[in-house]
Subunit: 192 residues, 2 copies
DNA sequence: CGTCTATTTGAATGTACTCAAAAGCGGTGG
DNA sequence: CCACCGCTTTTGAGTACATTCAAATAGACG
């Protein structure tokens, strides 16, 4: 069961049968419909979430009401409103399914229990977070140093075939540009 | 000794006297002159670095030779080229002292040793990385959703009095704008 | 004091934005 | 199965913001 997730984990730490079982016992499978929220800004973020199937987006809504895509999580990604999760405060972002999806949830308390009961998971998430750190720095560098066209090209390489799954307007908002600008950039690139 | 660092750590984990000592034994104090490199892009990143005093900047140099400031690390911050550190590959960024500085270094191998010998440090760095995760997401949101003027205002609030310490051109490159644009933004704001 | 670097200012250019409207696409119900 | 509706994407025109390049001014350091 949950072979996907186990594969992911065993790339970094070795779990005994018992550790696996106690981990799995904390996981709550859930199906999400397209457009269904996993987290809404303002609510507490109660879960860490692993995507088995489908596609979620995390987005921030600014004062003027515009949405800004923080993260696109596909199969085998972890997602949550990290701010809400670690502070216990209201979440800053929304997380919504863009396709009918299947996820595994770990409740905040269970997550903390897991970390203290099976310290190997401290290592696992530390490593995951280090990689996220590098990925975030990369995205920041791109944002501050590259024009939108180049950021779009990089995006399509990082998420191959995602354009067939996700409305372009969300990609635009991930890149920090308007849908109109993305449309023009794509037209531009098509003519090459 | 190293009270600063101990304070920081004890906010998150409790260390026994022995654990403290074994931790401190791994730390290498180093003084850096202004403009001295701690890491150069292309070299291996051998250290995790804690800033006791002074101010460092981490920056990326693109193909056209422009510098882009990824991070500004002042007192009590940790810094390193995380990519180089976790992969063992050549560093992607430079880290340079902007003031004469004092830092504590942990060699890559010692760092890994520490994590396996004293698992509490897994927790400590996991928590640090979670906070960095949130901070990075915040910066990404700002980059994709706010005009340069607002990003600059936020920056001055996040790093109060840093403008007295750091040349403006590095702040501009942190914000992803040219020094000329920052100059105009500041002029603009001054007239309010 | 002089030199080197950082910052400011100006003018022209370019990139991305807004607002408005048209075209395309997908799903639903008759 | 087609027609319609709502949402996404494209296109156009005008505007705003930030850039480039060049030059002047100001500051810091030896």
């Amino acid at each position: 069961m949950h072979k996907q997730l186990l594969n992911d984990i065993s790339g970094f730490i070795d779990l005994s049968k018992e550790e696996q079982d106690s981990f799995f016992s904390l996981l709550q499978p859930r199906k999400l419909r397209r457009k269904q929220y996993l987290v809404q800004a303002g609510d507490a973020c109660r879960y860490e979430c692993y995507v088995l199937k489908g596609c979620l987006r995390q987005y921030y809504v600014d004062e003027s009401g515009s949405e800004h895509t923080v993260m696109i999580a596909i199969e085998n990604w972890w997602t949550s409103d990290m701010y809400g999760l670690i502070t216990g405060n209201a979440s800053l972002t929304n997380i919504e399914a863009m396709e009918d999806s299947e996820v595994l949830l770990i409740e905040k308390n269970d997550f903390e229990k897991l970390l203290s009961l099976v310290p190997k998971f401290e290592k696992f998430f530390r490593i995951k977070l280090q990689r996220a750190f590098v990925a975030h720095q990369k995205r920041i560098i791109e944002n501050i140093s590259m024009p939108a066209e180049q950021r779009y090209i990089n995006f399509t390489q990082q998420y191959p075939s995602i354009e067939q799954r996700v409305p372009l307007k969300y990609i635009a908002s991930y890149l920090g540009i308007t849908p109109e600008s993305l449309s023009r950039i794509r037209k531009q690139l098509a003519g090459k």
